[in-house]
Homo-oligomer: 195 residues x 2
């Protein structure tokens, strides 16, 4: 049963996948439609070739410049700063935000070895200085690291003529943007407070 | 973000995978090592080409005949009847069984449209008639369908000179009496053994 064990071993390396779930999934894939397996296998094998970070905002895209940065109908006076590329999709799909994005690539976490130098703060400052933004919405996670990062951004923007806001109500403390539902995200966008 | 959405859409079709988990997994695969993605993608795409049911017992194998049926050191006087191919691995890996197997391909479930004709009963009977088995261990699941299937096998083997046994039902090891359901407790009481 080498092929099954090989598949199980690979599946087990995925996040949240234990020994038994990996085996169950392997057996499921043996029973399922072959064309589905080919499509899924190919999608997994090629995803990294197709996707790269947008050179402007840092979110994932298949094109030279992402759909948000290249969309002329979006509000270019607001920039929303997030930790990870997937946070862009979460906020965009809430339907309550029509501005631009900036992906930091994480949050300041000295214990985890992530300092300001590892994140895209210089790019953020350059975009704000070169653009015509009136508001920065800080949408880092409501965690200690996210809060530290928000404070750091406020510090960086001191003296600049730009409103700084932070997502406030709706997000449970200690939570994660990726697991927030659309309504919670929408409310936290609408109820954002001056920071 | 078409490639991410495509990958998410495919992952979402896997059992136990919701919209958000599929998206998280997609983003994980973008961040992870490319050679891992190639290996996993290839393993998924080719698993059905590599694996087929053993023509004798019905469990999954890469070879002409599975490792259990072709293993001369296994006890050929005992046959263990299970519902699904993965049950073979569960029982074999318990280390408490060294006989042969027979996979039925499911359990009798009239409401689900699975009758005796859909399962490998004729092959089981032929193996028992042609072999030199002294015991049939019925290892169908302890469910209504599994019990019905066990009764059906007992009926099929009536009059044959072969011992018929069934896996004991009772409290799972490491379990807690307080969490056991009434039916499990009832069975473990009825099936109590001398201590």
């Amino acid at each position: 049963m080498d092929a099954i064990e090989e598949l199980q071993g690979l599946l087990k390396k995925l996040p949240g996948m234990g020994e038994k779930s990996a085996l169950r999934l392997s057996y499921h894939l043996i029973r399922t439609d072959e064309s589905f397996n080919k499509a899924l296998g190919n999608a997994i094998a090629t995803i990294k070739e197709k996707i790269h970070p947008c050179p402007i905002c840092g979110c994932y895209t298949e094109h030279d410049i992402c759909s948000y940065c290249s969309d002329g109908t979006r509000d270019r006076s607001t920039i929303c700063v997030v930790e990870e590329p997937q946070d862009v999709l979460s906020i965009a799909s809430s339907g309550a935000y029509n501005g631009l994005f900036h992906v930091l690539g994480g949050a300041i976490n000295p214990l985890g070895g992530i300092g300001p130098d590892n994140l895209t703060f210089p790019e953020l400052i350059r975009r704000i200085e070169e653009g015509s933004f009136k508001e920065v919405i800080i949408a880092t996670n409501p965690t200690e690291e996210g809060d530290t990062t928000a404070l750091y951004i406020r510090h960086l923007l001191e003296g600049k003529d730009i409103a700084i806001t932070r997502l406030a109500s709706g997000l449970p403390i200690g939570g994660d943007l990726g697991y927030a539902d659309k309504l919670t995200l929408m409310r936290s966008l609408r109820g954002r407070i001056k920071f």
